[in-house]
Amino acid sequence: MQGLTFDIAHMLAGSLVLVSFMQLYQDRLSALLNMFALHAFVLAASVAWQAYAQDAPHLYITALIALVFKAIIIPLALRRIVIRLGIHREIENVFGVGLAMLLGIGLVALSMVVMLRVTSGADPLAREDLAFALSVVLLGLLMMVTRRNAVSQVVGFMSLENGLVLAATGAKGMPLVVEISIAFSVLIAFIVIGIFLFRIRERFDTVDVQAMDRFRGEKR
């Protein structure tokens, strides 16, 4: 039974990394949002499995928060924003897909090497979880760096935060209050960013951050 628990946790965390990769090469915004919803859903499943495996019922609440807010409300709201901004058909791509994938693979390898070295002696489940979580965080950052659309940067930020939650639930004994406050701070960040998106749009007629750079009188 221990083996199966570990395998399933491993598989769910691995799927989260896989979905992160899938986000990397989505060049349409609506597809990206779908992927983000999937990402949050996998996160919720993973957290729920951790709750079962660690016999920690409060983690179910965490999973529920992830499911309701991140997998349903935020993607829906973002989709509304995208449609109201009229950019749901826009195509953006900064890097080639191949290059982005190669970079992503490199990052995952790096985080594996670092985490497995650093946490030697810890619980194997937590070790794997931490390694995957760091990969998710790095992939989210990579997405923020490579995208130039503000909405995709928001998605990158949110998936980065998913990685943090995964790491937190992997470590046993994280208090619920920390989890809830993280969830709410992300929600507030989302609201603020959403407001800013509209303000930016009003002023510049676009949410392409390059336009803002041009406005500041700089060339990239």
Binding site: V114, V145, R148, M212, R216
Partner: protein, 668 residues
């Protein structure tokens, strides 16, 4: 004993908020400086009592500072001696400021920091662990920095404060590293623990160099002196006196505490470094002093010279101690400590005099002064006493300590090492040169300022300074005379300090005939200040009597010979710059690349002839200017980082994170 001293320090700190509260009141100056005077006098007497009765070192540990360490304080003969120096200088400065403080443009910017500054200097001397020492040291730097920029509307003062702050942080950094090496990996920062642990030879040498840089930058060793001639004159004069007369001595204390007390037994070649730096500092300091025309800046550079002398004596003491020649080490260390005390006396006196001149005339530029001996006779008299003392003329105190230094230098042939046998006489020659040049420097400072005819209307209408200032100056002048006439008493008082640090001591002096001092043996050398003074006094009285009684007692005034010019304006007198010309030609062309450009108008033209003198500060050009240029260049390059796009910043953060992770992954 130590707890009384700490209460005194606490009282000084408590004066600061009172000064803030009273800042609007016209009585603030009297209250604050009066309180400082009382507290420093009490601390002075307390320290003197400790020094005379020499009880065992008393310690106290307060639950302050680092939680596992606490704040250790200790009073032993060495710190008692420096407490005496600090508080004597502090008391004199407070007394002087009772009068001088009224001439301050913005007293409320000086009053709160003055007692804090005094308290900080006391704390440095009392500290008995590295943490307390460094905190007090930094406290001292910061409070004096606030005093340097008290008159902040003058651009020059702000620059002085900036340079001072940079150099002070640099000095503290090196001291921090020195204590870090001494404390070792376990964080044993109490001085007791450091004393018990004997560092390896390499570590000890590194600590010595770091301490020399850290304490030396505060004391003004060449080439770390750059801040000193800027900051000391910029502060109000009573603070200048404290900075030059006392704070440099606290730096010397730091050096002595680390090298003689904490570091264990010295290696002979350490002394080479200290001796060399000391000798060069002495000569460079006085040469710089001769090139200046700002009276307070002359005094500041002369402080550098005296610090050089003190460090040279300390280097000699290290050399003797390394070879176990305790008596000789005691002689060199006594000379250094006595000069510490003497320099605190006469440099404070001279800065007070310069402050009185500044208050009376509104200028410190010697080219604008002259003839003040008629308007300020008493200031001129005490200033003359200070000049005589600092020029090391008998029977005053400067002579005694320099004479002792040279006695120690004359013992150097007994040293077994050839390096030192050759080095010490060379340093002795440098010190002799600097002593002679110091004489010229103070003839110039006194002559141009007080003699001749006034060079400006401000100098013509100057008024004698107030009673309090004069009282402070007379007290210091009297102390200079006493220390010069009765040196045996001072040497005996220093004996426990010297015994603590070198293991040896000088012969007991107080029983000697005619109050003479005998540093080694009667057959070798002795000096009797009392007889010299008595001889000078009696012959002077007889001569005066002979002239005034047997000849005529009328004062006759005749016209001065004006070199054939019909109307001799005061500007045709010797000026500060023309007085220094011979020395500038001999030494300046090499040391300062001094050049004189004479410009003669063509025949028939009515334009005046011009003589322009160019003097360059090679140390600044070679050491400080490149560093400033490099920092400026890098800052301009990095400025580019201020104007990147959001994505570039994100990329930078991302790259930094990935690189750090890679370092972590490949860390062995």
């Amino acid at each position: 004993m130590i707890s009384y001293a700490l209460f005194g320090v606490l009282a000084l700190v408590a004066i600061a908020p009172i000064a803030v509260a009273l800042s609007a009141s016209p009585n603030a100056i009297s209250v604050v400086y009066g309180a400082c005077l009382i507290v420093t006098l009490i601390l002075f007497l307390l320290a003197l009592e400790t020094l005379f009765s020499h009880p065992a070192a008393s310690t106290v540990t307060l639950p302050l500072g680092l939680p596992w360490l606490g704040a250790h304080f200790r009073i032993d003969p060495l710190s008692a001696f420096f407490l005496v120096t600090v508080n004597l200088g502090g008391a004199a400065a407070s007394l002087f400021a009772l009068g001088y403080g009224r001439h301050e443009e913005a007293p409320q910017r000086v009053l709160p920091f003055f007692p804090v500054y005094l308290a900080a200097m006391n704390l440095v001397v009392l500290a008995d662990d590295a943490f307390t020492f460094l905190v007090s040291w930094e406290f001292m730097s910061l409070s004096s920095w606030a005093l340097v920029i008290a008159n902040h509307r003058v651009q020059e003062n702000m620059r002085a404060g900036y340079v001072y702050l940079l150099m002070a942080s640099f000095g503290t950094l090196t001291l921090l590293l020195a204590f870090g090496l001494l404390g070792g990996g376990d964080g044993a920062y109490a001085f007791d623990a450091i004393r018990a642990a004997h560092p390896e030879i390499g570590t000890a040498a590194l600590v010595l160099i770091l301490a020399l840089i850290g304490a030396g930058s505060k004391a003004g060793l060449v080439p770390l002196h750059a801040w000193l001639p800027l900051a000391h004159p910029a502060a109000p004069s009573h603070v200048s006196a404290l900075m030059s007369g006392v704070m440099t001595k606290v730096a010397v204390y730091g050096f002595i505490r680390i090298t003689f007390d904490l570091l264990g037994s010295p290696q002979w070649w350490w002394s080479l470094v200290v001796l060399g730096v000391g000798g060069v500092t002495a000569v460079m300091g006085v040469l710089y002093a001769l090139m200046q025309s700002d009276l307070k800046r002359v005094l500041a550079y002369s402080t550098i010279e005296n610090i050089g002398l003190i460090f040279a004596s300390l280097g000699l003491a290290l050399a003797f101690k390394a070879y176990g020649m305790d008596a000789a080490a005691a002689l060199a260390l006594t000379a250094a400590l006595l000069h510490v005390f003497n320099h605190a006396l006469f440099k404070s006196l001279l800065f007070f005099g310069a402050g009185s001149v500044r208050a009376a005339t509104g200028t410190r530029d010697m080219e604008q002064l002259g003839g003040l001996i008629h308007r300020m006779p008493q200031t001129a008299f005490v200033f003359l006493v200070g000049c005589t003392a600092i020029s090391a003329l008998p029977p005053l105190n400067g002579f005694v300590s320099e004479w002792l230094s040279f006695q120690a230098i004359l013992l150097s042939p007994q040293l077994p090492s050839w390096g030192l046998k050759l080095m010490v006489p060379a340093v002795g020659a440098l010190l002799a040169l600097s002593a002679a040049l110091a004489g010229a420097c103070f003839v110039r400072a006194f002559g141009i300022t007080f003699l001749g005819r006034p060079r400006s209307s401000a100098a013509e209408t100057a008024q004698e300074t107030d009673t309090n200032s004069l009282a402070a100056m007379y007290a210091l002048a009297a102390a200079c005379l006493i220390a010069g006439v009765l040196p045996g008493l001072f040497i005996d008082t220093l004996a426990p300090v010297v015994q603590q640090l070198t293991g040896g001591r000088l012969p007991v002096q107080t029983g000697a005939e005619w109050m003479s001092i005998v540093p080694i043996a009667e057959s070798r050398s002795s000096y009797t200040g009392m007889l010299v003074f008595a001889f000078m006094f009696i012959t002077g009285m007889i001569t005066a009597f002979a002239i005034h009684r047997l000849a005529s007692d009328k004062i006759r005034r005749g016209p001065a010979w004006g070199c054939g010019y019909p109307d001799a304006s005061p500007l045709t007198q010797y000026s500060a710059s023309s007085f220094a010309q011979p020395i500038r030609r001999v030494f300046g062309s090499l040391v300062f690349r001094a050049r004189e450009i004479g410009e003669m108008p063509p025949p028939g033209s009515s334009a005046p002839a011009k003589l322009t003198v160019q003097v360059r500060d090679l140390i600044w050009d070679a050491l400080y200017a490149p560093i400033a240029t490099a920092v400026g260049f890098i800052a301009v390059r990095l400025n580019y980082l201020q104007f990147l796009t959001i994505r570039s910043y994100l990329t930078l953060v991302f790259a930094a994170l990935v690189i750090l992770l890679m370092v972590l992954a490949t860390w062995p």
